[in-house]
Structure formats: structure tokens, C-alpha cells
Amino acid sequence: MNELLTSIGYNNWILPVLLVVPTAGALVVGLLKAEAAKRVALAVTVIELVLSLGLWVSVDTSSGTMELVRAYRWIPQWGITFALGIDGISLMMVLLTTLLMPLCVLGSFNYITKREPGYYALLLVLTTGMLGVFVAIDMFLFYVFWEVMLIPMYFLIGIWGGKNRLYASLKFFIYTMAGSLLMLVAILAMVRGAAVATGTVSFSYFHLLANAGAPGLVAIAPWLFLAFFLAFAIKVPMFPFHTWLPDAHVEAPTAGSVILASVLLKMGTYGFLRFAIPFFPSVAYSELVQGVVVSLAVIGIVYGALVAMVQPDIKKLVAYSSVSHLGFAMLGIWAATVQGVQGALMVMIGHGFSTGALFFLIGMIYERRHTREIAAFGGIARVVPIFSLILTVVALASIGLPGLNGFIGEFLVLVGSFKTYPIATGIATTGVIFAAAYLLWALQRIIFNRLDKPENETIPDLTVRELVVLAPLLIGIVWMGLYPKPILDKMEPAAKRYIEMARPGQPVEGVTITARAEGAR
């Protein structure tokens, strides 16, 4: 397989091609009629997925550093290049994105009934934006993609969203924009600082990484870190920067919610892993910042779960559950142990599958009943057994039932963090109780109890197309729960490399037998 890919020079062109194909597709789709637009959009995303699959074999992730690095001329005067690269971490994020996009397109077929060409074109532009964020290794380019991705999302919510869509889309836009503008300032300051120290003006990630400790930058490092922190913390979202999420989720069309939860939130955690912490490890691991971040992560886990428990709207419930899940990812990232970081990455991927599937399912039932009020349902397991079965499996994955994907990430995060932050981890572990509480309670009120509303008696069960949308996610949920080893192996070198950058001078590997100090008898 690898030989075949080498013979066609796959590694030389794949990254730029992955960025170009969706946007080129968007240009075509935008000009087509509704029916044709759907089909072409689906074809483009499927092609994109097939193209991206080669990365699994062709990228050598064992080094833990960036592979397939290519830098194309762009704005040489300012030291800006169109530089792309990929490591084990971004590989998984890229594959997660390319896998979800065809499902989002197919999952929108019957539900989006106005201005279809524009809708599908925006989905494709969004794809380029998201992939760009994960493979850009030039800070200017990264910033461009980071912003590019906002615009289609703004329109997706603002045009195809629910009743309160304008408020939600504006809130989403301004919230994220506020964070990212500060980040832009920080990037510019870093470029200047590095230029003063080395005489080279460059936005290159490696250049800035190497010179983030330049004399002129050390003094302002806390402020620079804060700027990055805000941009990423809003995206994650960490408590208390999360209130844009429930509104955006509730108003977004199904595919928008799926993309928001499955991919966009991961850009926040990805940003911490790739940029904020490696740039400023001494700030990130100062007593103060550790205390603040770990506290916010743990608050997010418990708070998100408790607030999710009392939501009357299913979409809001899932939105708050994301706050809780991403709290685990933040905890694992800051723990900086192999298990913690690997767990955080598994949470990111696993959450993409299970929450993506949850939003698809909510969308499917919404199309049938035109409500997302939990109280409007009850006892529908009898009417829609297949829907109920899948909803149960996905909810259990989200609860973290071992054997399904959610458990792997949570377990690794908690194991890994226990070494660094035992008390915080102990509190975070109570999240497993609250997760069961809010999801099982919701599940009971939706599919169990007495079927007492006549309008629920005639809901049709899932169609074949809907099953096709859900099937890949379900397979992923079970597969990653039972055999996550290949994914973990792909990411481990990059995770270790991150730990070396985050905690320079600390041993990365293995277990220290702490209890020996007690004196064995």
C-alpha cells in the first residue's frame, strides 16, 4: 500500500490537495441547482475522505515531529509561507474531520430545504478551514484558517439555524473573534521578538517555537500566553467561557452542531497542545496557571455535568455535556503524563464520534416531531426501537461505559492526571457519576416511561439513509472501545514530544514506584 502511494508521490501533494479540493468543490457546488449541489458536495467529501485515508499508512508518526513538511512561497516580504505539516496528533484530527464531512452532507439531504447550493458550498469551505487549522505550521497561515472557519459557521447558524439564530450566530462570532484577535496580537509580538533576537522575520512555527524564549519575549510571556489562552479556552470551551456553546448548538442546523462539537471544539485543545503550552511552558506550568487551569477543568467537568442534568432541551443538555467532556481533555493535557495526554487525545476523538452521533440522532427525531423538549417525548422505545437502541448505545459511550470509546479517553486521562494532580483527579472522577445521572435521566424521559402523548405514537423509525449516516460513527464507537491500540500507537510519539516541550527536563516514560519510600517489609 505504502509503495503504491510513494509511486504516485502521495506525500508530496496530499496536504495542499486536501485543502484545495473542498474549496474548489465549493465553487462548483455554489453554481449548481439544489439536487445536483447535494450530490456533488457528497462526492467531493467522499473523495476527500478517500484521499485522506492514505495518510494513515504514508505518514511516519514514529518520530513524533512534523512530517510531510512543505513550505510554499506566499508573502516573502513578511516571512510568511504557506507551510504545511502533519504529526500523529494532527493526523487523527484530519481523519476525524474528513470522516465526518460526508456524513454531515448526507445527513443534511432531506432537512435543508432552502438555498441548498449555498449551504453545501459553505460546508465545503468550512472543511478547508478546519483541515487548514490542523496542518498549518506557519502562524499567519494558521491564523487565517482559524478565522476562515468562523465565517461559514456564522452563516450556517445565521441562515439555516433555528428561531433565535441571529442572536446565537452573532454571539458565537463575537465571542470567538474577541479571543482570536488577542491571539493575533500575541503572534505579531512573537514574530517581532524573534526577529529582534535573530534578525529573521518569520511566521514559521518552528522559528517561533525555537525563539519563544528570546530575551525580549520572556518579560511579556505571561501576557502572550494569556492571549493564546483566551483564544483557545473560548474555543474548548472552558468554564467560564462556555456560554456561547449552548446557544450556538441549539440554533445551529444538525450538521452545524455536529461539526461544532466534533471538530471545532477540538481546535481549542489542539491549540493548547500545539501552540500555547509548547511556546510558553514555564508560564503554563507556573503554580498560578496550573492551579487556575486545573481548577477550571475540574469545575468544567462537574459543573457541565450538573447543569446538563437540568436542561429541558436535549441539544442544550448535550452542549453542557461537551463542557464536561472537554474538561477531561484539558485536565489530561495539563497533567503532561503519557497517559494523560493520550487520554486527552482519545477524549477529543471519542467525543467527536459520540457527540457527533448524538447530535445526528437529535436532529433525526427533531425532523419527526419538530421539538427538542425532553418533556415532549417518553416511552418511544416501543415505536422507534432502532432509534432507541442506537441512542442508548451512543449515550452509554458518552457515559464512559468500558468497551465503548468514551471510557478509553476518560480512563487514561484520569490515570495520567492522578500522578500529577491527585486531588483534582479525585474530584474529576466524580464526573463518571454525574454523567450517568444526566444521560440516563434524559434517556428515561425520552425512550422509556409510559407512552402518554398520542403524537408520539406514529413516529416512523430511522430510514436507511439515516442508518448509513450513523453506521460509521457506531462502528467507530465500538472499534475504538475495544481496540484503540492502533490509534494510541500512532499518537504516542507526538504525545511524548509534547510532554518534552511542556515539561523540559522531566522524565517522560514510565512509572515511578512512589510507594517504595514507605519501606517494604
Binding site: K171, I174, P240, T243, W244, Y303, L306, V307, M309, V310, Q311, V338, Q339, Q342, G379, A381, I386, L389, L396, L401, P402, G403, F407, I408, F411, L412, L414, V415, G416, F418, P422, G426, T429, V432, I433, A436, A437, L440, W441, Q444, F448, N449, R450, L451, L482, Y483, P484, K485, D489, G510, V511, T512, I513, T514, A515, R516, E518, G519, A520, R521
Partner: protein, 658 residues
């Protein structure tokens, strides 16, 4: 049979799950196929278990045989294989689980045949067996945890099997969430063990712990206490027992299989499995024994005043699980496992027997369209005339649980009490635990006989026309009962004490010796000998006889009124009837405040009020006001501009001149 075939015991019920699950969705009316596949896969798994057991009988392994299936998780130093472990302990569990499981599956064919969810029921039941087998065969804590959570899931699904009743769905949810509180403990225990030992494999824990950790040290004490929290959840001990009585909302075979014979004993199994750690932590062992003894007596008192036949048995199960923990907490791991096995026989029999009774009552009420409670023993009475086989078998089980020799329960319960007493010599607190256990034995005999008397003796209170429809269950149900009856009577033979006149003596103890030896070296079992031993046995028998006689006499001393006309309970009886109001206490102390705080403080106040209202929309509002000010400035009136210009110019001049 080669033990490497062990995976087959899991694969067989899994196939059953797939077949029955597919039928449940596509062709639920295909009950014949379900009736063959459901119990069939279990019998096949039992056959494999027997084959493997027979193969190892002659030359038992001195080290656990571990069969890796595939590499599951790998991150840094944490490498977990999905691996199955065959040793003496897992073999005992395997035989009990597949054996009793098969009988209950067969019984269920008769019990559930009229239910439209027949296929779904067997799909869940088969899936439960899959996870239960993973639980007992897993070679490491995380793999055990897969089974541990999986059985919890199936328990949840089966308690809420008739989910159209809100109460049933509530009970299922409650079971899952309360168990999760325990799972929190199990997880923290794993974290502690991983970072102190570097492994979560049972075999490695057993060899590493004694050389790495300090006996009685903080690490091993904390790890075992957290582990026990997990056990208290799964095995329904104080303070997490509250889910088990509610779990009786599930179909009765489920109560027998999951909530009596197998799943709820998993906590006892886990303590025995990690016996080395508990033996290194005397404090934790005392906590285990103490909680066990307290639960034994506490649940027994509630059992005195329950009228639902399944509720009586449920509190009895909680109480008997307490005995098992009293045993393993007294370092008598063999005795704990022994009682686990005998209890699986007689309690499965009692539950299935109650199922047979309920089946008959239900038919009678169904035929006459009566809405009376088919599970209330006040509506029964004199049933021995109508259900003679069930009566005889349940009576045998009652004698076994009460501890009458030579029935199985006598031996296992006696060994536990003797071990607790023996340990009292070193740690006097164990005398108290023994006393609680002995008192609970008296109550056990009493409430069991009360239940039997109200059900089978005296006048029948079912109703004149209803009575005509009472009849014994079909052979497919009584058959498994008879097998369990035989096991309940002779089950003690697997571990006869030395004072018993006929061999084999200490069979189970010798069989488990290789597994439990490391723990026994650290904390040996202390069974009193000679006069003390005989005095204890005499007292135990006396207690049982007194309890049974008193239970029979007081119950039938005055006429019993049927549930409809029954007067309200008064005084302490009312407190017992309401289970000490613990559920109400938990509800108003934990559940309601948590939901209230989440809704009104966290969501409405913090989230919507402070963060979104004051913070986000507040800053948006501030910007809006600033913008409004800006628009005001551009009023278009020349005079205003001139004034502003003049003020500015004067200020500028002033600052320049100064």
C-alpha cells in the same frame, strides 16, 4: 478440555445475544428459536466450563493461566491486554455462574413465554452472561471493570425491562447511578495501584504488593478502601445498598440470576481476588467486616416487616452479602467464597420459587380480572396445597439459609461466624462483628419462616374464585428448582469442616489454596478449636431453631388480613416497613438539593445570570452604550462642535503653557 478454550464460554452467550437481539428487532414472535438459543448457548458454555474444570481437576495450576486475546490499551507504562485468567478461583466462579445461569435461563423459558418482549429478554440475559464471565475471567482490574460495568448495564436494562412503568425505569436508573458511586471508588483504587505498583494485572499485584508496599501503610489502606467502595456499590452494602430492593422491579428470573446468585456477589469475588491487598491492610479488612456485619443485621431487621415476597428476599440478599463481607473481612476468603456458592444455590432457588408463586398468583388474578397485588404475602396463605413442589423446595432453601445442619448454608455461615469470632482474639472489635452476625442469623431464620408461613401455611387469602385458578408451575420451571433444591441441600459437601464425621474435608479450601496462599501468609484465618468451636456451633444451631420456631408461631398466632384490608403499621413496625426512611432521607438530603442547586444556582444564577447576563451580554451592553454616546456626540449641531473645539483648545493651550 484445554483451558485455552476459555474464550468459548464468553463467545457462546455472545452469539446468543446477537441471535436473540436480531430476532427481538426483526422477528419478536419467533419464540421457539429464542427458547432454544437462549438457554442453549448457556448450557454449551457450562459444558465448556465443566470440560476445562475436569481437565484441571487432576493437576491444578500453581500459577494462574493467562490467555491474552488482544492488546487493548497502551499508553506509556500502562499496557493492558484483553486477557482471560483461569485459576482455581475463577473456575469456581465460572462453574457457579454458568451452572446456575443455565438453570435460570431454562426457568425463564417457562416464566417469560407469554411476554411480548421474550426475545429482547433473552438477548439481555445472554449479554449479561457475557459481561459476568468477563468480570470473573478478566486477568486485570481494567478488564474486570469491563465486565463490572457491563453487568451493571444489563442489570439496568433488565430492571427496567417493563419500561412502560415509570417506577421500573426509575429503579433501573437508580441501580446504575448508585453503582456508579461505587465505580468511582474502583477507579480511584486503580489509579493508586497503578502509580504505586506499575501494574493492574492480578497476578503481578499479588507478587509485587507484598514486596513493594508497606503492610498497613497508607497506600495499600487507601487502595483497598476505595476498592471496597466499589464492592459496596455492586454488592449492595451500607450505604449503597438502596438500589437492590428497588431492583426487584425486574422480572423474577432476573432477580434470581443477577440480584442474588451472580452479579451482586461480584464485590465479594473482587475482595477475594485482591485478597493480598486486603490482607496487607488490617484497617480496611476491619472496615469490610464491620460494614458486612452491620449490613447483615440492618437489612435483616427490614426484612422482618416486608410484605412483598420479593422484597423480603431482596433484603435477605443484602443481609447475606453482608455475611460474605464479614467472612472476607475476617481474612476467611474461602469461607466468603463458600457462602457465595451456597447462597447462589439457595437464594436462586428461593427467588425462582417465589417466581413460581407469583406466576400462579398472577394467573389466578388475571383469570378473574382482579387488581390485587400478586406479590403480597398477605394475599397468599395455604399455598402448599396448590404448589406442593415449590413449597417443599422453598422449605429446603429456608432451612439452608437459616443454617440448619446438614443443609449447605449451615456450613458456610458457620465458618464465617467462627472466623470472625476467632479473629476477635487478636482484634476484639471482631467479637462485636460476630455478635452482630449471630443476631442477624436469628433474624434471618425468623423472617424467612415468617415469609414461608404467610405464603404456604394457614388460611388462603387469595379470594374464593381466584383460588380455583392456583396451580403448580410447568416442568420447565420446576425442573431447575429441583436441581437447585438438591444443590441447596448437599452443597455444603464442597467444604466440610474437620469436625464433620465424613470426608471430604476442606475441599474448597484446599482447591483455592494456591490462589489465597499469599494472603493467608500475611493474615492467617483463625478458627477456634475444641470446646469454643463446639459451643459456637451449638449456639448457631440453637439460634436457627429458635428463629424458625418463633417465626412460624408468631406469624400464625393470629389471623392475617389480606393486603386490601390490612391496617396501617404503627410504631417501630412502621419504621421497619418504611425501611428506616433511608430512601426518603437520601432523596431529600442528596437528590433534591443536587437537582435544585444545579437548576437554580448553577444554571439559572451562575450560567444565565452571572456569566451570560452580567459578563457576556453585560459587556455587549456596555459597548452598545459607548456606541450610543458616540452617536450623541455627532449631533450635527455646529454650536455644540464649536464649544467642544474651544474647550479642547483651551485645555491644550493650558497644558502647553504649563
Amino acid at each position: 478440555m484445554n483451558p485455552s478454550w476459555i474464550w468459548l464460554t464468553i463467545a457462546l452467550p455472545f452469539i446468543g445475544f446477537l441471535v436473540n437481539g436480531a430476532l427481538a428487532l426483526a422477528k419478536p414472535e419467533a419464540k421457539r428459536v429464542v427458547a432454544i438459543v437462549g438457554p442453549g448457548v448457556l448450557l454449551a458454555a457450562f459444558a465448556v466450563a465443566v470440560g476445562i474444570f475436569a481437565g484441571l481437576w487432576g493437576n491444578p495450576p500453581d500459577q494462574p493461566l493467562v490467555f491474552p486475546l488482544w492488546a487493548w490499551i497502551g499508553a506509556g507504562g500502562l499496557e493492558i491486554n484483553l486477557a482471560l485468567q483461569v485459576d482455581q478461583l475463577s473456575l469456581v466462579m465460572l462453574l457457579v455462574v454458568t451452572g446456575v445461569g443455565s438453570l435460570i435461563h431454562i426457568f425463564s423459558v417457562g416464566y417469560m413465554v407469554a411476554d411480548p418482549g421474550f426475545a429482547r429478554f433473552f438477548a439481555y440475559l445472554n449479554l449479561f452472561m457475557v459481561f459476568m464471565l468477563i468480570l470473573i475471567l478478566g486477568s486485570s482490574l481494567p478488564v474486570l471493570f469491563v465486565g463490572w460495568e457491563g453487568v451493571g448495564l444489563c442489570s439496568y436494562l433488565l430492571i427496567g425491562f417493563w419500561y412502560q412503568e415509570k417506577a421500573n425505569a426509575d429503579a433501573g436508573k437508580k441501580a446504575f447511578i448508585v453503582n456508579r458511586i461505587g465505580d468511582f471508588g474502583a477507579l480511584v483504587a486503580m489509579f493508586i495501584l497503578f502509580w504505586s505498583l506499575g501494574t493492574l494485572e492480578f497476578a503481578e499485584i499479588a507478587t509485587l504488593a507484598p514486596t513493594t508496599l508497606a503492610v498497613g501503610g497508607a497506600t495499600v489502606t487507601a487502595a483497598t478502601l476505595f476498592l471496597f467502595l466499589g464492592c459496596a456499590g455492586k454488592s449492595a452494602q451500607i450505604p449503597l445498598y438502596v438500589w437492590l430492593p428497588d431492583a426487584m422491579a425486574g422480572p423474577t428470573p432476573v432477580s434470581a440470576l443477577i440480584h442474588a446468585a451472580t452479579m451482586v456477589t461480584a464485590g465479594v469475588y473482587l475482595v477475594a481476588r485482591t485478597s493480598v491487598l486486603f490482607a496487607m491492610a488490617p484497617l480496611s479488612s476491619a472496615v469490610v467486616a464491620g460494614v458486612g456485619a452491620l449490613t447483615a443485621i440492618f437489612a435483616a431487621t427490614i426484612g422482618l416487616r416486608q410484605y412483598d415476597i420479593k422484597k423480603v428476599l431482596a433484603y435477605s440478599t443484602v443481609s447475606q452479602l453482608g455475611y460474605m463481607f464479614l467472612g472476607v473481612g475476617s481474612a476467611a476468603y474461602t469461607a466468603g467464597v463458600f457462602h457465595l456458592v451456597t447462597h447462589a444455590f439457595f437464594k436462586a432457588l428461593l427467588f425462582l420459587g417465589s417466581g413460581s408463586v407469583i406466576h400462579a398468583m398472577h394467573h389466578a388474578y388475571h383469570a378473574t380480572h382482579s387488581h390485587d397485588d400478586a406479590q403480597d404475602i398477605r394475599n397468599m396463605g395455604g399455598l402448599k396445597r396448590y404448589l406442593p413442589t415449590t413449597f417443599i423446595l422453598m422449605l429446603l432453601a429456608t432451612l439452608a439459609i437459616a443454617g440448619i445442619p446438614p443443609f449447605s448454608g449451615f456450613f458456610s455461615k458457620d465458618e464465617i461466624l467462627a472466623s470472625a469470632f476467632g479473629r476477635g482474639a487478636e482484634h476484639p472489635i471482631y467479637y462485636l462483628f460476630w455478635a452482630l452476625g449471630a443476631a442477624a442469623a436469628l433474624l434471618t431464620a425468623f423472617y424467612m419462616m415468617r415469609m414461608m408461613a404467610m405464603t404456604f401455611w394457614g388460611e388462603n387469602r387469595t379470594g374464593a374464585t381466584e383460588r380455583e385458578h392456583l396451580h403448580e408451575a410447568p416442568m420447565v420451571m420446576t425442573g431447575p428448582l429441583i436441581v437447585l433444591g438438591v444443590l441447596s441441600v448437599i452443597g455444603g459437601v464442597i467444604n466440610l469442616p474437620a469436625f464433620w464425621p465424613t470426608p471430604p474435608h476442606h475441599g474448597l479450601e484446599r482447591w483455592l489454596e494456591p490462589v489465597l496462599a499469599p494472603a493467608a501468609r500475611l493474615m492467617p484465618v483463625q478458627i477456634p478449636h475444641g470446646a469454643t468451636e463446639y459451643a459456637l456451633i451449638g449456639a448457631a444451631i440453637l439460634i436457627a431453631v429458635v428463629g424458625l420456631v418463633a417465626g412460624y408461631r408468631t406469624t400464625l398466632a393470629k389471623p392475617i388480613t389480606a393486603a386490601q384490608q390490612a391496617p396501617e403499621e404503627v410504631g417501630f413496625a412502621k419504621v421497619l416497613f418504611h425501611k428506616y426512611y433511608i430512601d426518603e432521607l437520601y432523596h431529600s438530603l442528596i437528590v433534591r438539593p443536587l437537582v435544585g442547586i444545579s437548576r437554580f444556582v448553577l444554571w439559572r444564577f451562575v450560567d444565565q445570570g452571572v456569566i451570560d447576563g452580567a459578563g457576556v451580554n453585560g459587556s455587549a451592553g456596555l459597548m452598545k452604550s459607548l456606541g450610543w454616546l458616540g452617536t450623541r456626540l455627532q449631533s450635527g449641531q455646529l454650536g455644540f462642535y464649536v464649544i467642544v473645539f474651544l474647550v479642547g483648545a483651551v485645555w491644550l493651550l493650558h497644558s502647553v503653557i504649563r
